[in-house]
Amino acid sequence: MTAHDLLAPNGLANPSWSDRRSVLISIAIFAASVGAMALVRLAIFPNTFIALSYGLPLLFCLWHQDTRLLWAMVVAFTGMSLLKALVIMDSGIASAFERNLHWIMQAVNLLVIGATVHIVIALTRGLRRRQLTIEQQNTTLVARGEEIAQQNEELTAQAEELAQQNEELQQQSEEMQHQTEELHQQAEELQRQTDDLQLATAESERREALLQSLILSLQDAETDGTLPTDICEPLMSLFAGKASAAMVAERDGQRYRVLSHVNLEEFVSDAPLTAQSFGAIVMREGRTAFIEDLATRPDITVPRSGSRSFRSVLATPLRLDGRVMGVVTVLSEVPQSWTREEFKIIEWVSAQCTLVMQTRRLREELQRANRTLGGEVQDRTQQLEEFVAELEHFSYTITHDLRAPLRAMQGFAALLREQHGAKLDTEGASFLDRIETAAARMDRLITDALSYSRIVRSELPLAPVDLRALLEGMVASYPSLQAPAARIDIADDLPAVLGNEAGLTQLFSNLLGNAVKFVPPGRIPHVRIFGERQNGTVRVCVADNGIGIDPAMHDRVFVMFQRLSKDYEGTGIGLALVKKIAERMGGSVTLQSEPGDGCRFWVQMRAANGSVQ
């Protein structure tokens, strides 16, 4: 057997059924050995116990390692032995016991040989497997060896590269050293700049303190138009140690009036402003000035404060509306050469003071104006309110008082007709008619005027109203709105509105009253009421088949006491009332009409949310 055969997969297990060649070999061996044994043992020597072992053919299986073949042959030979012993062999040759013993021994012999061969096959296979594994491991190891060799080469290459990089790093490190030194220098520079900045910040903080003091004084409404008295404190700190005293003063005729000071406690607040005083000179010159050492200028005086005597002074004029009106002074107990920077500071302080004083003065003027104006407005409002209340009361009273004589007029007219009617001639009766008609008209006028004044004055609380139910109730209670006098159609889908029930009743009774009144003689009034909801509003239309109104007159119909036709009864208040009610409920009323084409009054109201209870 070659190594190739040993490595072949069929050497490790029984040949697969699909390996046709191997299966054919198995069948051939089986057929040949069984055939040969049958020929020799059953045909040629049927009555002889042949010593030749059945086991020999089984040894083929050591060459063609197929356990299925092995056991097939064992079974076949055992079967043949049994057949020969019990069927073929002449019973006269051997006893039954001998025959039975013979076949049993042969069967045992076959089993032992079969088992031995089986074990040998199994062991061979195990060996082959191990050999195979070792060979595979060997191959793997060889491959790893090659790989490691390759990696080794690579590592060598990398090591070289690293060495190179190391050199570069060395160079870079040197460079960095250099840069670090530069950075150190820059840091020192920065430190210097920071120090400068801190100085600047400190100054800006001091300036801010001054501004803060000024702004705070602005918020204090009580003080008058001058500067806050503590303004010199931040001013002093702006001069950081160089100033021993400071003062802000304004000119009051020929005297100083000190607005604020520091370290000048004993300085008289209204010192005379002599021509030799430094403040007077600065104000006269209108520019910033200083004296380095006052000892060199005994002719010039500066404010004094008891034990303190000052050697140096810096001052700038204080301006208001472009006019010099005071002076800002900084004093020192030692001679000082004031810098350009300090010039700028004192001028800046002066400018800020000017700004604040102007602001305060403006604010005072504004407050004064406001007070005057507020008082006036209040007075006028109160007068107006009183006037309106008086007017309302007057209109109510006069309308109300008109009722008493009217009552008498109507009463006596009726009494006259009742008790003396028979004595009147036709003309007298017609005069009485006219009196009664006029009185009735006046009654309506008063009623309408009172309704109008009530609507104007009273509150109209709004609530959801089922307009359809309200209108149906109205129609049911007025015979003039029912058949056969009139026909009123109310749409089923009339939306609910947010309104005042009493107001709505008055509004629609007026509109319906007009709709059935203004029809040509002989025509039966037909009124349609329908509406639609648009977002938060409801538009309801009252459309009639009456005489209509000329568009030129549309604006006038809603005006109080405007009557368009003398042919129809009316007070001229109804539509004014309708308009007023709609407006009081947050709505409006408009008219669409042409003469002879009827009127469509559109009432817009607020829509009710949800359903009406």
């Binding site: 109300h400 009722r403 008493a404 004589p405 009552r407 008498a408 109507q410 009463g411 009494l415 009654d443």
Partner: protein
């Protein structure tokens, strides 16, 4: 036994209204002793029995009082206020009879203890309807127990 007719005191400054009220009682055949006072002060004097009303045979205490609101000297409201402090008039029905339909007037009258509030009709001849109502509600002796309405009742003008 002859029943004494009830006494009605009508406080009213309009002589025409007094005339129509008296005529209305006569026209409706309602037998009453009808007295009137032309202003609030006189009404109070009548009720208090001050001169010239100190003779109770000539000026008997009323069974019912009709009270206008808009009166000279003392208004109807002042009369109501005066009445409120007096126990002896607690059972006297006081019917306010005014042409004011203002809700605030009604409320004030009710708060001051008015028994009823009747709106004056626009014609003197319509007082007849008012007196019929008054008779049915206030002048039918004896008043059945619990028959007095608790709430204000308004007679609408026709």
């Amino acid at each position: 036994m002859m029943r004494t007719p009830p006494t009605v005191l009508y406080v009213e400054d309009e002589a025409d209204d007094v005339y129509f009220m008296r005529a209305a009682f006569e026209r409706e055949g309602i037998s009453v002793r009808f007295h009137s006072a032309p202003d609030g002060a006189q009404a109070i004097a009548y009720l208090a029995g001050d001169a010239p009303y100190d003779d109770r045979t000539r000026h008997p205490l009323p069974t019912m009082m009709l009270l206008d609101l808009n009166l000279p000297v003392h208004s109807g409201f002042e009369v109501l206020e005066w009445l409120r402090g007096r126990k002896e008039f607690r059972s006297l029905p006081v019917v306010v009879f005014s042409s004011s339909g203002r809700e605030e007037d009604r409320e004030r009258a009710r708060d001051l203890g008015a028994t009823d509030y009747v709106l004056k009709p626009s014609s003197g001849m319509q007082f007849s309807g008012v007196v019929r109502e008054l008779r049915d509600r206030w002048l039918r002796p004896p008043t059945p127990p619990g028959g007095q309405p608790e709430t204000l009742h308004t007679v609408s003008p026709t």
